[in-house]
């Protein structure tokens, strides 16, 4: 089946007064209908830049400098602004990390969803209101008729994130980018939101790109996982394989840093060192300075993604192969 979205060898750079750097360097993945791809990595690894590249919202000094992004087979990079705007919020929608600030404080919640429906589905004001209330009900907001005319500050964080989801899904997008949608929420609310997203995904048949640094969340929602480090992909596998047969030393480090129940430890395990600055990436493997298995070759050459088996690829010269 054709993927809904395919990212091929994406390269995104930022040009600032202090110099230019590549925040995303050769990232590729595809997501099919009803599939959820998890993207994991530390802050600054290029997760969000990848999604902003897909949305075409990099801002003034960011630019896609290489590769391609295709939505239903059509390249988004060659599109003119009006064409892109017609897809944004319609074919491709996004929910963000901070529900507290993602809604405009001076407009009613209902208005902010109506606006999108009127823009893309050309609904009348009255029809838009009806659809908005239906969406608010769909995402589990109680008494949606009265919530419709609330301002964002009158809703709790969880309710706001539900409203954001209602907004994102209002035009039946085929592809949803969820950028750390649960990070700012209480754990109990987190679970509800995750469940809601999966349920709606099945109902609407969306492809979902789920970005998070929380491996626990990934294990619940993702079908496949892309592990990113310093703008590159180090490992791609099914969720089951990532957790049971991790192969890249970075993936293993990430998994080891999750504390386990029933295990008593004086210190939590960490990956020593810091992510290198994208302005000063070393030649060779970007993970070399923190990697316990680094060799001379890692300092000279950059490892490319190699397939271990169908659906499991790793970019490492000294990968751990488990039986």
């Amino acid at each position: 089946m054709n993927p809904v979205i395919s990212v091929e060898n994406l390269e995104t750079s930022f040009f600032t007064k202090g110099g230019s750097f590549r925040a995303v360097n050769g990232v590729s993945f595809e997501i099919a209908r009803k599939e959820t791809l998890g993207i994991v990595g530390e802050s600054g690894c290029g997760k969000s830049v990848t999604s902003m590249s897909i949305m075409g919202l990099l801002g003034g000094n960011g630019r896609v400098t290489g590769g391609d992004i295709r939505f239903k087979g059509k390249s988004l990079l060659n599109m003119k602004t009006p064409e892109l705007e017609a897809i944004r919020g319609n074919g491709i929608a996004m929910i963000f990390q901070e529900p507290m600030t993602a809604l405009n404080p001076v407009y009613r919640v209902g208005f902010q969803i109506d606006e999108q429906l009127m823009r893309h589905q050309l609904l009348s004001k009255k029809d838009a209101k009806e659809k908005t209330i239906e969406m608010l009900r769909l995402v589990g907001i109680p008494s949606p008729e009265s919530r419709y005319s609330n301002y964002p500050h009158q809703l709790s964080g969880g309710m706001r994130q539900r409203a954001m989801i209602a907004m994102a899904l209002s035009c039946d997008p085929e592809f949803l980018i969820a950028d750390e949608p649960t990070t700012a929420l209480d754990v109990t609310i987190q679970a509800q939101i995750l469940e809601l997203i999966s349920e709606l995904q099945q109902r609407l048949g969306m492809a979902v790109q789920f970005i998070t640094h929380d491996l626990g969340v990934i294990s619940e929602v993702a079908d496949r996982v892309v592990v990113m480090y310093a703008g590159t992909v180090c490992e791609v596998a099914t969720t089951a394989d990532i957790f049971s047969k991790p192969s890249h030393p970075y993936t293993i480090g990430l998994l080891n840093s999750i504390p386990k129940i029933g295990e008593k430890r004086d210190r939590l395990e960490t990956i020593p060192g810091n992510v290198p600055s994208p302005m000063r990436l070393p030649p060779g493997c970007p993970f070399q300075n923190r990697c316990p298995r680094a060799t001379e070759q890692c300092r000279r050459e950059r490892p490319q993604l190699e397939q271990l088996k169908e659906g499991h690829s790793v970019a490492c010269f000294n990968k751990v192969v488990s039986a």
Partner: protein, 322 residues
């Protein structure tokens, strides 16, 4: 909301009373009173005459009694008699008020009309040539002293080009009516309006620019873009409404200060407004005139602050008054 407004109006009145007493007392602290000034210009006055005049005008009473007398007179609508103009205060203050309103509101209106679009464009093109030039001019406009700028304009337009009058409010002795009278006023008001507009504009350009830059960075702007809204709608519907909140504050303060703000401009152009009247009356120890002007200014400032507070509630739903 109405509760809030009524309560605020009540406190405004109290503040107004307190400040009017303070300004009255300060005027009384100034060396010399009208009778002493009379005496200085007339050396043949005897001490008994001075004492008699002081008693006649109530100048021998303690400050609080004099204030009480002034207050009760004022509340009855008797604003007193101007010593320097030799007419009742009510006769001069009305025209002066209209003149100042004309000057200040034209200038404020022009300043807003020009500055807000410039500020918005500068913010959207943050870091480009347009932004730098707008910023530079805003700084220049803010730093130009009005008296210097006014004199420069007089030199250029009245002295060299001889197209506009150097000062005044209307042509003296002119009996023009209708359109001709309006044209005459326009000729006189142009230079003062330019000076006042430039100094006000600078502030609005910088505030608008700052507020817009701040707002355009917010998450909800990213959300609006992610919804596929056209950039125009993102800027004017989603960003501008939020940027208005800080702008309203400084605009309300500026409205409250229209009298004080125009003093220097009016003085430079000998424009017969309230600012010049206040200045002249303080210099001439004409406290009946000065007190009226003070209190109008204070009342304007207090009232405009109330207007600003009320308008917040309309602009920002997070603010509610109980």
């Amino acid at each position: 909301m109405w509760n809030f407004i009524i309560r605020r109006l009540f406190f405004t009145t109290i503040v107004l009373l307190i400040i009017s007493f303070v300004s009255f007392a300060l005027m009384a602290l100034m060396p010399g009173d009208p009778v002493e000034e009379l005496m200085m210009s007339n050396p043949s006055m005897r001490a008994e005459d001075v004492a008699r005049l002081k008693a006649l005008y109530g100048l021998d009473l303690p400050v609080y009694e004099r204030y009480w007398n002034w207050l009760t007179d004022t509340l009855r609508g008797d604003l007193g008699y101007s010593r320097t103009y030799k007419v009742p205060v009510t006769d001069i203050i009305g025209d002066r008020l209209i003149n100042t309103f004309l000057l200040s509101f034209t200038a404020l209106g022009l300043a807003l009309l020009l500055a807000v679009p410039i500020g918005v464009i500068a913010a959207l093109r943050n870091g480009t040539k347009f932004d730098y030039i707008a910023n530079l001019l805003a700084f220049a406009g803010q730093s130009l002293p009005p008296f210097w700028f006014g004199i420069m304009l007089i030199m250029i337009f009245a002295e060299w080009l001889q197209v506009l009058p150097a000062g005044g409010t209307t042509t003296i002795g002119s009996d023009a009516t209708g359109l001709a009278a309006l044209a005459d006023r326009l000729k006189y008001i142009t230079l003062p309006v330019v000076v006042f507009t430039v100094s006000q504009m600078a502030v609005y350009v910088r505030y608008t620019r700052g507020a817009m830059i701040e707002v355009m960075r917010q998450d909800y702007i990213r959300t609006a873009r992610a919804k596929g809204l056209a950039e125009k709608r993102v800027v004017f519907v989603h960003a501008f409404r939020n940027a208005l909140i800080p702008l309203v504050t400084i605009f309300a303060i500026a409205l409250g200060n229209v009298f004080g703000g125009a003093i220097i401009t009016e003085q430079v152009f000998a424009y017969q407004g309230v600012g010049k009247l206040v200045f002249d009356s303080i210099i001439g120890n004409d406290f009946r005139v000065a007190m009226v002007a003070f209190n109008i200014t204070i009342a304007m400032v207090l009232f405009m602050n109330l207007v600003a507070d009320v308008s917040y509630a309309f602009l920002d739903p997070r603010i509610a008054y109980k």
